[in-house]
Amino acid sequence: MNRSNLLYNVIAIVILALVLFMFWNFAASTSYVEGKITSGGVVIDTLSTIYGYLYGMIPICCVLILFSLAVAFYLEEWLSHRSWQYRIIERIIAIFACIPSLVYGLFCAYFIVVKSQQISYLTLTIAVFFIVVPVTIRTTQQVIQKVDLSVREAAYALGAKRMRVIADHVIPNTFPMILTGIFTTISRVLAIAALFIVICGWKITESNSKHSFDIPNNAIVLLSSALLFSVISCLFEKKKSL
């Protein structure tokens, strides 16, 4: 590895560590779903769940998706496929991508129901991290690999630098397919969340008289959203330009 590559790697790792550290602090210090306070205790109804989702999931998903895209572009455009770093990261991603998202949902449920008895950002972030990141990195990598080598060669042979090739050709040509991957991942997260609401909501309602979940409505809302995102991802897939 030459000196400039080593420098890029160190900078990338420092930025990554900083982002994860800040995100971890944010996740660990914020609570997720706030219920409505009524005479019967705290009721977590459909609106609260939707609000919780908008407040909780959107920042988590945005950060994790951007992080995944950055990792995918770094792996495909900067790191040599023969380097040991690439091989190690690839193996780790492959292992996590192969685990069904249901396992992460159940892991999340276990920590909420058995350990903490409340839905926290941190538990949610960990579960969503493992559902979103490996799959998004994988799909984005595959899409980037589909960009015709001859297009890259043509641009490089004309004197274009790497960032120019990425900005002018790789991203515009892969964008619809990257969006398809992102929406499919969000859809998976929502579907898992529906299951999670059913298990945890039922268990929390049963064990804690001060909290109750509107389970069927919440699950239906989440499953409908999952379906909506699947449909959107199909629309983008049709627009793919590769």
Binding site: S150, L158, A160
Partner: protein, 257 residues
Amino acid sequence: METNNFSIETENLSLWYGDFQALMDVSVKIPDGKITGLIGPSGCGKTTLLRCFNRVNERYGNVTTKGEIKILGKNIYDSDVSLLELRKTVGMVFQRPNPLPISVYDNILFGLRIHSQFRSLTRTQSDEIVEEALTSVFLWDDLKDKLKTRATSLQLEQQQKLCIARLLPLKPKIILMDEPCSALDAKGTLAVEELMSVLAGTYTFLIVTHNMAQARRISDECIYMFLGELIEHRETQALFETPEHPKTADYVQMRYG
């Protein structure tokens, strides 16, 4: 860069892909303003040699090069050589037509935009450059109404001509061609060959080809390579009619390859 009678000179050039040696002590001088053909069986290192001249090979990471390459008298591995400037001077046309997946107009201007200041070209200047480049490759009449069309939707022959046209605004001194007609039919091949003949003199062409008839038709000088070694480099007619080396004779008389 200073000019002499040779556009490209190599001295004991060797190249390895990992442990595999693809070029062995190649020393060659490519004359200015002529068409030089590179022939030889598959895997003999023609394309590798070609790609050395604008350092496109380096993108693959596991390439080791030894020896010297001079373009217009300047060693391209000197620390003060800009890769950007080198690729402006040495243009390249690939085996398969590879227009960028943008409009015809933007394809022509892509290289120029890389090498000039942001928004330094006025609309009128850009239009003139596009017209001039397309006229040089005899595409203006066909494409003047399709400048906003995606270049990938053109016919293969037009795409390959466009790939040549997009080099011209950069005013390169050398154009490397890696089997530029292998994806084209007879009509397309003829059109590209005619274009090369017209442009030769202004530009130095180095063309890799598997088509011996083509090498014979268009090149002024010819280089025969075999298993990474340069076997013979002579005027085309002499190389085909009175080859000095038995390996060259076997190849040009089609007893091998």
